[in-house]
Point group: C2
Chain length 161, copies 2
DNA sequence: TTATATGCAAAAGCTTTGCATGGGT
DNA sequence: ACCCATGCAAAGCTTTTGCATATAA
């Protein structure tokens, strides 16, 4: 049995991203000769549903546990595998906790932290990507991945000079 | 007594950056009402000399210890203070270790990791900075800080398409 | 059937904290 | 003198690892 499962449509979700990711996850996991055990399946299912924003291993473990299976050890192991297979993005936070989210096979995004609330928002910007590509060229590197984290506070009218 | 100390010129070092940083560190530490104890002075001195590249708390502790004073606890405390005062950049690595380097009062840089060797290089790029400023504007944020980490492998002639 | 996946519990590693002592101003 | 800074040791966290058991293929 593979990792592709059926879901009802969830309100507010990008169903096509979820399906694309699930299809790719299935392909790569199967291709790597990995089996569909309870923990691995649980993590993949859970992330396909709820993994479009950064989630800690703790949160993922809770989510998987709520659906019956999973343990911290297995979740960490599965997260490592998925990351190595390029199926997840990983951001190491200032709090010493690693957070993961599903990697969109087509295009990606970055994160901005609102320092007044701690809230994390996603954004994407082609001009930024282009600038990064240019840097890679200038440095003579073939870039395999990159992270951008912005931190800021809402611009009040009073802030504008 | 302040935190500004005298040093001989070190080969391969950017003496002006070191001095600028030391001056600003002295100003901000004194301004914050902090005292020049052995550990704090040791960390500031050590970083002024050797802190232009990312260093772990462990490495900093070793460096400070080699000069007589310092303990892990104090180093962590001092590093936090310096970071809060905006005197250090901090990067949280994939290995779960936080690394620090002195923040240049004028201009800053980012890092690129050579995935074949693990080696970290610094770079700066005005076009990238400009793109980031534009993103902040577009999102309605006043950016307080940002990190960029690139990962890649040396571009071989064969890679070029 | 056979190698792999899982889960518990213990271990490991970085970082923080409590507390008594030493030191700056 | 007074309060801050320091250092040791213990505690707190996330993450990793060992090992016996369960399970996918």
């Amino acid at each position: 049995m593979g990792f592709i499962l059926t879901y009802g449509t969830l309100a507010g979700m990008d169903a096509s991203l979820r399906d694309r990711w699930l299809a790719q996850a299935d392909r790569r996991l199967t291709g790597a000769g990995l089996r569909a055990g309870a923990a691995r399946t649980g993590v993949v299912e859970f992330l396909a549903r709820d993994g479009q924003c950064l989630l800690s291993a703790q949160e993922i473990t809770d989510g998987v546990r709520a659906r019956g299976a999973g343990s911290a050890a297995s979740v960490y192991r599965v997260l490592d595998e998925l990351f190595e297979l390029g199926l997840l993005h990983r951001v190491d936070g200032r709090d010493g906790v690693a957070r993961f989210e599903i990697a969109d096979p087509e295009g990606h995004h970055h994160h901005v932290v609102d320092e007044t609330t701690g809230e994390v928002r996603a954004f994407s910007d082609e001009r930024l990507e282009e600038a990064i590509r240019a840097v890679g060229d200038r440095l003579g590197l073939r870039l395999t991945s990159h992270d951008v984290i912005l931190r800021g506070v809402p611009a009040q009218a009073a802030d504008v000079d």
